[in-house]
């Protein structure tokens, strides 16, 4: 219930946060805190310094559509995504999925950048961002770089972010959405998804991403290829087998997850059609 002791500071600039993360051993960035604080309370992890990014919301919270790109600030909360008319109109998959995460209170603290940087295997937004061909803008001591979400995610709670790097923005290409679906399967409403499948159909084809079916969210490349080459949905859905490496946990066995993958991919394809 009570974390081990740590220091706390707020930062006013991204660079200040970056400097602290590099200089201070045991420094952790704190966004909404709904993954980090429970882990600290249960003493599953520890920190020597928490760097509160919340004051950066002035700079890093918000949704902007310009030149064919929708840019979302990393500290934009789930509830802001859910309610944003820009997101609702151009990224309906994201608006919908953001409204399914956790519960009402969690959605008022959790941020899209926090979710991507935390990279929990069962988290909704990494998968959704993958399906939307999202890329993250990352700033570090060496400057800024941009990388697609599939290059960000390396494993459960593992990313390609270096020490001292922070996600500042998430960018999505503006495309005409012809259909989308988010098939989220869990036990209780507030639970992490046991399995989720995101599908987004645009002028560039049908993108399908999978949540909690591998160490990190992945695109269902085999399914997408089958759809692109005209396979029927049931047939395309069967291909998902090649895209996943599910595991057993308290909520479901790998075998059941494998089964759900097929069912939910087919449903997602149908709904997005």
């Amino acid at each position: 219930m009570i974390p081990t002791s740590f220091d706390y500071t707020r930062v006013d600039t991204v660079d200040e946060a970056i400097d602290l993360l590099i200089e201070q051993d045991g420094a952790r960035a704190l966004a909404g805190g709904h993954s980090l604080l429970p882990d600290l309370k249960l003493r599953r992890t520890s920190a020597r310094l928490l760097i509160d990014l919340w004051p950066l919301r002035a700079e890093l919270a918000g949704i902007d559509e310009r030149d064919g790109v929708i840019t979302v600030g990393a500290l934009t909360r789930y509830t802001d995504l859910e309610r944003s008319s820009v997101v609702q109109e151009h990224l309906p998959l994201l608006a919908h999925a953001a409204g399914q995460i956790g519960d009402t209170q969690v959605r008022r603290r959790g941020t899209i950048g926090g979710s991507l940087a935390n990279a929990a295997r069962a988290a909704d937004l990494p998968g959704v961002a993958l399906a939307l061909d999202g890329e993250v803008v990352v700033r570090g001591a060496e400057g800024e770089r941009t990388l697609p979400v599939d290059q960000l995610l390396l494993g459960d709670h593992r990313t390609s972010l270096d020490r001292g790097e922070l996600i500042t923005h998430i960018r999505f290409p503006l495309r005409r959405v012809d259909g989308w679906s988010y098939q989220r399967f869990g036990r209780r409403t507030q639970d992490w998804p046991t399995v989720a499948v995101a599908a987004n159909r645009t002028e560039s084809g049908t993108a399908v991403a999978l949540v909690n079916l591998a160490d990190h969210a992945v695109r269902a490349a085999s399914v997408e290829e089958a759809v692109a080459t005209g396979a029927q949905f049931p047939e395309a859905a069967r291909r998902v087998e090649a895209d996943i490496a599910p595991r057993d946990d308290l909520k479901a066995s790998a075998a059941y997850r494998r089964h759900l993958a097929g069912v939910l991919v087919e449903r997602a394809l149908q709904h997005a059609a």
């Binding site: 219930m1 009570i2 081990t4 002791s5 249960l42 003493r43 519960d103 399967f185 036990r187 209780r188 409403t189 507030q190 639970d191 308290l250 479901a252 066995s253 059941y256 089964h259 759900l260 069912v263």
Partner: protein, 773 residues
């Protein structure tokens, strides 16, 4: 106008709605020291050594204690030789068992010090399941036992012949899943023994019961001990056990001269507060072509966990008593066995032994319907105890005499409420469409044993009596105070007891208050559990008020110079019937009751006080008929509860709003047991469901809207006619849900799936059925 039966809003609510409730943890004044346990990471191990010096030297730490420091004190009360020491003594028997305790100036220091205690263990093989504990050669968990069976009570009657000669027989093995009662307030204790008198505030259901045991254990006079249960944040049967902190906190306060607080975290509570259910049933039924059940044999294996709790040991007794449910079955045989395992101790959880019984008999009746091809409603109607047969001696045990009921009426009310015929035809249509979700309709005609008040009934569970005590007194201004030994935690005693008293006394409802939960201000008490409060405390209030009213009328008659028999009392005023102008207020009568010169001959001051230790001649048997309507996704196995209908019979209802709340809350817990909740361990006996992220207490969108109705067969066993309602929902709901799901799947040849009915379990049995079908 009668208040009994009226929908009266609660007296309890304004404080609780404005943040003025006072729960135990709210009473931890600044300067209260904090105790925290060091918990065993193993389910079964020998403790080789402790290294506590580093922890003891940390800032803010007052002391570190291990079992040796409590060597002068006996084990906690419990069935020998499987009773529990306050801290693990040389050996741990379940994951999370406390092995040491830290006392520190504040919670943060205590938490830090816990991490600094080093304990060396020699890990022993863990028996996580009943099967493992009973396996040939399994190491006894308690050395004084030759094996892991604490008590074996095989069936007294041999009905194998009756089963063998029945035209049909069927068997089922069922697991009643281990659940955590999980009140939202975790167990919380504050002990102050810094002066001569020990004062303990604790989140408990039975303060006097604790006083009786704690003082004996400490070897102090009861006059020197005050136990208070302030506002209590839910109990559901999990706050009447002898948790070590109730015993340790007082000693730490005494030893170190500080006020001591213990507040379990949720993870600790999920391991340390008693679990419930955890039974395995093997049941065999004999029946005829027409669905008549002729013989029933039930064998119960009760998982007790690592230590035996007295209530836990009693659970299978109640299960066997209630094994035959609402039915007239000529031959019934039951037996049970207590099995120790390396898991958290098991004790009462809402219904305590009766949900397990109703679950199995209602599954069995559905199995008979399935095998005979008869409608499940019809099979029930054919086997019900006839309405004219009450009182009915059930042939499970001579103590079981059903008081009243009308099972056919309850079922018919239900079938009409839900439009049963229409649902059945919808179900048929659905089955013809392979893409549609499967529709399942489940019935549960349940009854339970309640009103724990007959002599001897609670003594068996370690209480000193089975009565409930009431003190009723009228103060000089005509207001009334009721002190009850039944100690509520959400049931609305302040409201319903006031309703009962107001009706009898004619004192306005708002002028009555109810005190409870404090051994210093409440004469004696037993506690709130087992759906007993109305039939003991409620009846006690009625009885006390009736006696007192006669004396009040004598005083009023004397003052009015009228015959007491001619008086009536309405809205706080005594008046002569027919001449309302000849009247006198309750306040005037009450004042006079303390003034010798105003009293009639032979009456002494203070006569408007009445004390009752209310016993019950026998148990009560609330009953009902529930139905759950589910949809099963044939591809994923996900179950959605579409509708839930409930018809309850708890006899006389004192406050329909409160009764409804009890029913709904119980049903939600029953649905949760059936669909969501299960305590799980890994193969080494480590608790996997150690947070509310993993132990699946449902929230609002996970629980359906309920449609409820009521029938009323008052119990003849008490003057109110009330049977009790606290546990009904939890007793009746699980079989309704499971029967619905099995009904949805029965055309695939599926006869049973164990709770909780997770999507994966359903998918898995469907897949197996398709493979073999």
């Amino acid at each position: 106008m009668s208040l009994v039966g009226a929908r009266v809003v609660r007296k309890e609510d304004p404080a609780l709605l404005t943040g003025k409730g006072r729960f135990t943890e709210d009473l931890a004044a600044t300067g209260t020291a904090v105790m925290r346990y060091v918990l065993s990471p193993h389910a079964h191990a020998r403790i080789v050594s402790f290294a506590t010096d580093a922890a003891a030297a940390m800032p803010g730490v007052i002391a570190v204690h291990t079992a040796g420091d409590f060597g002068d004190y006996p084990d906690l009360p419990g069935p020998e030789p499987a009773a529990r020491p306050v801290l693990a003594r040389g050996r741990v028997r379940f994951h999370g068992e406390p092995v040491a305790v830290i006392l520190a100036r504040d919670a943060a220091a205590a938490a830090d010090a816990v991490d600094a205690v080093e304990v060396t263990y020699e890990v022993l093989p863990a028996h996580v399941t009943i099967e493992q504990s009973l396996a040939e050669g399994a190491m006894p968990i308690h050395d004084a036992l030759p094996a892991n069976t604490l008590m074996d009570a095989p069936p007294a009657d041999d009905i194998d012949e009756e089963l063998a000669t029945a035209p049909h027989r069927a068997r089922l093995s069922l697991v009643n899943n281990r659940c955590s009662p999980a009140p939202i307030e975790n167990m919380s204790v504050i002990a102050d023994w810094t002066s001569d008198d020990l004062v303990v505030h604790a989140s408990i259901q039975a303060p006097h019961h604790l006083r009786n045991y704690l003082t004996t254990w400490l070897g102090i006079p009861q006059t020197r001990c005050r136990i208070v249960a302030p506002d209590v944040g839910g109990g559901f049967g999990s706050k009447i056990q002898w948790y070590p902190e109730l015993f340790i906190a007082p000693l730490l306060s005494r030893w170190h001269g500080v006020r001591v607080q213990s507040m379990l975290t949720r993870s600790e509570a999920l391991a340390l507060m008693a679990h419930g259910r955890a039974q395995h049933h093997d049941v065999e039924v004999g029946f005829e072509d027409d669905g008549n059940i002729t013989a029933l044999k039930l064998l119960v294996q009760q998982d007790l966990g690592g230590y035996a709790d007295v209530t836990g040991a009693g659970l299978p007794v109640l299960t066997t008593w209630m094994a035959a449910g609402c039915y007239q079955i000529p031959h019934v045989a039951t037996g049970f066995r207590h099995v120790l395992t390396n898991t958290s101790p098991v004790s009462s959880y809402r219904g305590a032994g009766r949900p397990e019984a109703s679950y199995t008999i209602e599954r069995v009746v559905d199995l008979v319907a399935d095998r005979t091809g008869l409608d499940p409603a019809e099979v029930r109607l054919r086997n019900f105890i006839p309405t004219d047969a009450f009182p009915y001696q059930q042939n499970t045990n001579e103590a079981v005499i059903y008081d009243s009921g009308d099972f056919p009426k309850a079922l018919r009310t239900l079938l009409k409420l839900m439009d049963y015929e229409k649902l059945r035809s919808e179900q048929q249509t659905r089955r013809d469409d392979p893409t549609a979700p499967l529709l399942g309709i489940g019935l549960s005609c349940w009854l339970e044993i309640a009103g724990f008040g007959p002599n001897g009934s609670l003594e068996a569970f370690g209480h000193i009596g089975s009565w409930e005590s009431i003190n009723l007194r009228v103060l000089p201004d005509g207001t009334a105070m009721i002190a009850t030994g039944s100690s509520p935690h959400g049931q609305g005693h302040e409201t319903v007891l006031s309703q009962i008293a107001a009706d009898v006394l004619g004192i306005p409802y708002d002028n009555i208050i109810v005190r409870h939960g404090d051994t210093a201000t409440v004469q004696q008490g037993t506690g709130t559990f087992g759906s007993r409060s109305i039939s003991t405390a409620g009846v006690g209030v009625q009885s006390a008020a009736t006696s007192m009213l006669a004396r009040a009328k004598a005083i009023a008659g004397h003052l009015l110079e009228a015959s007491p028999d001619d008086l009536e009392v309405v809205d706080g005023v005594f008046a002569v019937r027919g001449s309302p102008d000849t009247n006198i207020s309750w306040a005037h009568v009450a004042t006079a009751s303390f003034q010798p010169l105003e009293l009639p001959e032979g009456m002494t001051p203070g006569s408007l006080e009445e004390q009752v230790f209310q016993e019950s001649p026998n148990f009560t048997y609330p009953s009902g008929a529930y139905s759950c309507v589910v949809e099963v996704d044939p591809q994923t196995g996900a179950v959605t509860v579409r509708d839930y209908f409930a018809v309850d019979d708890c006899g006389t209802v004192i406050n329909p709003m409160i009764a409804e709340g009890q029913v709904q809350g119980g049903i939600a817990q029953g649905i949760a047991q059936a669909l969501y909740e299960e305590v799980r361990y890994d193969e080494d006996g480590r608790l996997l469901t150690a947070t509310l992220e993993d132990y699946l207490v449902p929230t609002a969108p996970d629980i359906p809207q309920l449609t409820t109705a009521r029938v009323n067969t008052p119990t003849p066993n008490n003057s109110l006619g009330a049977k009790g309602i606290g546990e009904s929902g939890a007793v009746g709901a699980p079989p309704a849900v499971v029967n619905a799901v099995i009904d949805a799947l029965s055309h695939l040849g599926i006869e049973h799936v164990d709770m909780p009915l997770t999507p994966e379990r359903i998918w898995s049995v469907m897949r197996k059925a398709e493979a073999t079908g």
